[in-house]
């Protein structure tokens, strides 16, 4: 809809409604940060305010970092996200190039397989994947967290769509320059489709940083838990009602993605909506 000039009354109404919905959106974030700065006594007091009467943030955050291995959880999350993303790009980019630019017997069938893969919700496959990890004897290792995701049908699909838009002449010219097909993938296609690669990377990192379902199945060892599983364990074991440190831990887990989002909004919106927003 074109931005029409709103009458003053309409403009006030617009801001009024949007401020209300924004408040509904922000309350859980504000509450989380607010509790993370309060002392246990103040949290359980009958009256309340957003700002703490007595600043207790240092104690809460210190407890969140020291009494549970939160830095370890976040490090695990970072490592797992990095490994998954690296594997996905290594596996998906050449496959996407083959599907987009090369002719070979069986190509259409394999592309159909990718589309079927796109249909399958990963959670449905968790039981057989659990058995597979058991047979490979990798349960309770980083590998178990990474292996199920090393190929992404969505990644292949998205990159193929972008690679297809790159003119064939560029591919021919690269061949005449003596580049082999693998070099074309990494030196020509991936750099030219960088927006798609970035969008996919954001999608992948957000999905796996936030994932609770598969880590809950694949690892039991506290040393291997990614952040969501870690704070769930923290909630269940240590902090029954010790909200201050629990909220401090939650804030630390949510913060990296939110800061990255605020710094690069456009990329995040594109990545999270799977390129359907253009």
């Amino acid at each position: 809809m074109s931005a029409i000039r709103l009458s003053p009354a309409a403009a006030i109404l617009r801001h009024g409604v949007l401020v209300l919905t924004s408040a509904f959106i922000l309350v859980p974030f504000v509450w989380m940060v607010s509790l993370s700065l309060k002392s246990p006594g103040e949290i359980f007091r009958a009256t309340f305010s957003v700002l703490p009467a007595q600043f207790y943030g240092v104690d809460n955050y210190a407890k969140a970092i020291t009494s549970v291995p939160l830095p370890r959880y976040m490090g695990n999350g970072l490592l797992v996200c990095a490994l998954i993303l690296a594997a996905q790009i290594l596996v998906c980019a050449p496959a996407a190039y083959a599907l987009a630019k090369l002719k070979f017997w069986g190509r259409d069938f394999i592309f159909a397989m990718v589309l079927v893969g796109l249909l399958l919700p990963h959670q449905v496959l968790s039981l057989p994947l659990f058995i597979l990890c058991y047979k490979l004897d990798i349960l309770n290792t980083y590998l178990a967290l990474v292996i199920p995701y090393v190929v992404s049908p969505f990644g292949i699909f998205l990159l193929r769509q972008f690679f297809k838009k790159i003119p064939n002449d560029i591919v021919h010219a690269a061949r005449l320059d003596g580049l082999c097909e693998l070099a074309i993938v990494w030196k020509i296609m991936v750099p030219m489709a960088l927006p798609a690669v970035i969008a996919f990377s954001i999608f992948s990192v957000v999905a796996h940083w936030n994932d609770l379902f598969w880590p809950l199945i694949a690892v039991r060892d506290g040393n291997l838990m990614p952040a969501p599983l870690g704070i769930m364990a923290f909630k269940n074991e240590e902090a029954g009602n010790d909200y201050g440190p629990l909220m401090a831990a939650s804030t630390l887990v949510v913060a990296p993605l939110l800061i990255a989002f605020l710094a690069a909004q456009k990329w995040f919106v594109e990545g999270m909506t799977g390129g359907s927003v253009k």
Partner: protein, 322 residues
Amino acid sequence: MSASLNAVSRLAQPAEGVAGKLSSRVSLPRRHSLHEAMWGWALIAPALIFLVVLFFLPVVGVFVIAFSDWQFGASSLSFVGLANFREVIFDEGFRASLINTVVYVAMVVPGTVLAGLLIALLIESSHSCRALYRAVHFLPFMATATAMAISWEALLHPTIGLVNHSLAALGLPVANWLRDETTALPVLAVIGIWQNLGYAMVLFMAGLKSIPLDLYDAADVDGADHWLDRLRTVTIPMLGPVSMFVVIVVALRAFETFDTIQILTQGGPGHSSEMLLFTIYRESFEYLRAGYGAAVAIVFLAIVVALTLLQARSMDKRVHYQ
């Protein structure tokens, strides 16, 4: 011998010149094509192997487990037909879970889509604070659901939660939101709407941008110059295909709700907030009833596949409109 061959070849040359032009189009790529096909297979091989091992064999595996008596640790299995499905269908827990899932989706989808549409229309109606409002509403979609669920639990806490404090201050009745059979599922639905409305908003904003401006001019000429007329005659009809797409992707996300249940209610009290994905997890990995879990997984798969195919069709329609 060689001279005559030369002569023959020289005789043949003009002809070959013509044919050569043709054949360089036909046979050169053909010689090339084997090379190309080998590269094609080499480049796709890793992805293909992983697709088969991590997607297609597991799908077969789910069906095998669902139609057999296999249990964790068993070295053999025998097929039992629909026995697992019969057990699932006659189990009250599963029926509650299925009904809860449908009810939850029926609450989350309209709530999310209408709120997302309203907010998108409001934001796009003026330039003022547009980027700020968009960023704020999109935050929950990115935020770690596990962590945010913990914050929601504190908000909904019966004695120290902000929700009950506020209600009491207004003289309204309070509740133990997550421990009450009547409120647990609706509260999860509110959280589901909170998580997803920014996603719907962003999709609608993209849809709004793609509406050609001359349609508004045409509406203007036809006398539809009031904003409500413009909304009714241009904006809403043009958003139809996008809306269909938004409804389905939000429904898919709602069906796949797990984190908030796991953190906030564990499906309780009773079965009052149990949904399919949580049932799959609990039966498969906590109760270790593999056959039961796999049968529920297949029901879940059927629903998700049906929705995704609908989505693919609505995407096709969207292309026609553009």
